[in-house]
Amino acid sequence: MRNTLIIALLIVFFGLLQSTVFVDILRIDEVKPDLLLIVIAFVAFKRGGMAGQLTGFAAGMLQHFFSPVLFGSYAFVFTVVGFVLGLTQHKVNAENFITSAVLVFIATIIKGLALGILALLFVEIGDFYPSNVSGGLLLELVINPILAGPLFWMMNRFAAPAMR
């Protein structure tokens, strides 16, 4: 129960933060980091696939309140991210800035692929290739892993002890 509450708080806090202009200070060109993706990667890595996918689903649903993108698409994308990254639980022993960056790098790739699959199925998602891969997603592959280290450290410091 306590774990669920803490994860819910993390999702709400970072979800709201993600939609404010505050995140613009971290923006490169048109691209801002995906803080919720980093939270999902953290939860999936720490708590496994079940927690990861549920966190992903909840985080995706939250984002739909701020975006007119096809309802359910973010929920789908982040559920997949949470499930796949959950497979890394207990398989990666070392936890440092590099492992967190690699995890979030992989999470960003999975997010891109999942969006690509949806773009093939639903016209509302829009054309996926090539303009987005060359633009937004490539920059996200840089900016998300850079922020992964500090955010993992913060969540380890403040949220993880209460989750045990």
């Binding site: 979800g15 709201l16 933060l17 993600q18 939609s19 404010t20 202009v21 505050f22 995140v23 613009d24 200070i25 923006r27 060109d29 048109e30 691209v31 801002k32 995906d34 919720l36 496994g48 696939g49 079940m50 996918q53 549920l54 689903f57 995706g60 984002q63 739909h64 309140f65 701020f66 975006s67 007119p68 993108v69 096809l70 309802f71 359910g72 698409s73 973010y74 929920a75 789908f76 559920t79 997949v80 499930f83 959950g86 969006l115 949806l118 773009a119 639903f122 016209v123 509302e124 998602i125 829009g126 054309d127 996926f128 303009s131 987005n132 633009g135 937004g136 996200e140």
Partner: protein, 290 residues
């Protein structure tokens, strides 16, 4: 036996269930339930976004102020060396001048917006990088209503941003022209050929459709609103043509439109107080029923 199977595979089964739920939601995304729930959540989160925006603006002003103080210091040192009388130059003059210049620019912009409008600041943005929506700090209590067009001013040009798709008393949701379901009646400014501009989801560029393949369109041509949609006033800049393609055997050419407005840098917008005529709204509703 079955319960053991479910227990052993609960993770994968939960995963499949969540995917099915997501897909079902995508299939039924146009239900009014979704919009009503969104409206309630928007009302709840607006104060949070407003406060964050205020804090952010405060720190940004502070940061800019610090930078200005540094510049002023250098200027003052140079001035002291040349003329003693500028020793007591008040640094706030520079700040006031800057603020005044900003206000003059806004006033100048407002004069050029020919329509009755409401000036609004952006307080919330699309969580992902697709800039398909914004939350603004003006709502129904300021006269903002659904379907009102939203425009902005950039590099001396007025360009369309999108339209209001939801309102609460003190905020409103603006869906931009980059939104997948947004269609804008357009015309190529030079050749006067008509077309329809629509958002392309995740892409930074919009698409223009239904432009006759014989139109003398080329990259760099300006695309403006045609006024046919009855939402957007005629002659507003939408963007410029890029990636023009003509496929054999096709009636229409393919092209992208790079929007005039840079959505990533947008801070203020103008909500034009113009609503579609009731007759057209009635016709649209009747068409939907059919």
């Amino acid at each position: 036996m079955l319960s053991v199977f479910f227990y052993k595979n609960r993770k994968v089964l939960a995963f499949l269930l969540l995917l099915i739920v997501s897909f079902t939601m995508m299939g039924t995304s146009s239900t009014s339930f979704t919009l009503n729930l969104k409206s309630i959540v928007l009302t709840i989160i607006y104060p949070f976004e407003y406060v964050i925006n205020g804090i952010f603006n405060f720190f940004r002003s502070l940061w800019e102020g610090l930078g200005e103080i540094e510049t002023l210091k250098k200027e003052l040192l140079r001035t002291q060396a040349r003329l003693k009388k500028y020793e007591e130059l008040d640094s706030s003059i520079q700040t006031l001048q800057r603020r005044n210049a900003h206000l003059e620019r806004l006033l100048d912009e407002r004069k050029q917006v020919r329509y009755e409008h409401v000036l609004a600041s952006i307080v919330g943005k699309d969580p992902q990088n697709y800039y398909q929506s914004f939350i603004i700090d003006k709502g129904s209590s300021d006269g903002v209503a659904e379907r009102m067009p939203v425009i902005a001013y950039e590099n001396g040009k007025i360009g369309i941003v999108g339209r209001v798709t939801m309102t609460t008393p003190f905020s409103a949701l603006v869906t931009t022209i980059r939104g997948s379901r947004t269609w804008v009646g357009a015309i190529l400014e030079a050749s006067r050929y008509y077309g329809m501009v629509r958002g392309n989801g995740m892409s930074a560029h919009c698409l223009i459709e239904y432009v006759d393949v014989g139109a003398p369109a080329k990259n760099g041509d300006v695309v403006v609103t045609s006024g046919h949609s009855d939402i957007y006033p005629r002659g507003l800049s939408i963007g410029i043509l890029t990636n023009v393609q003509r496929d054999k055997g096709q009636f229409f050419l393919k092209a992208e439109v790079a929007p005039t407005i840079n959505f990533a840098k947008l801070e203020n917008v103008y909500v034009v107080k113009k609503l579609p005529s009731p007759e057209i709204e009635k016709l649209e509703k009747e068409q939907k029923k059919l």
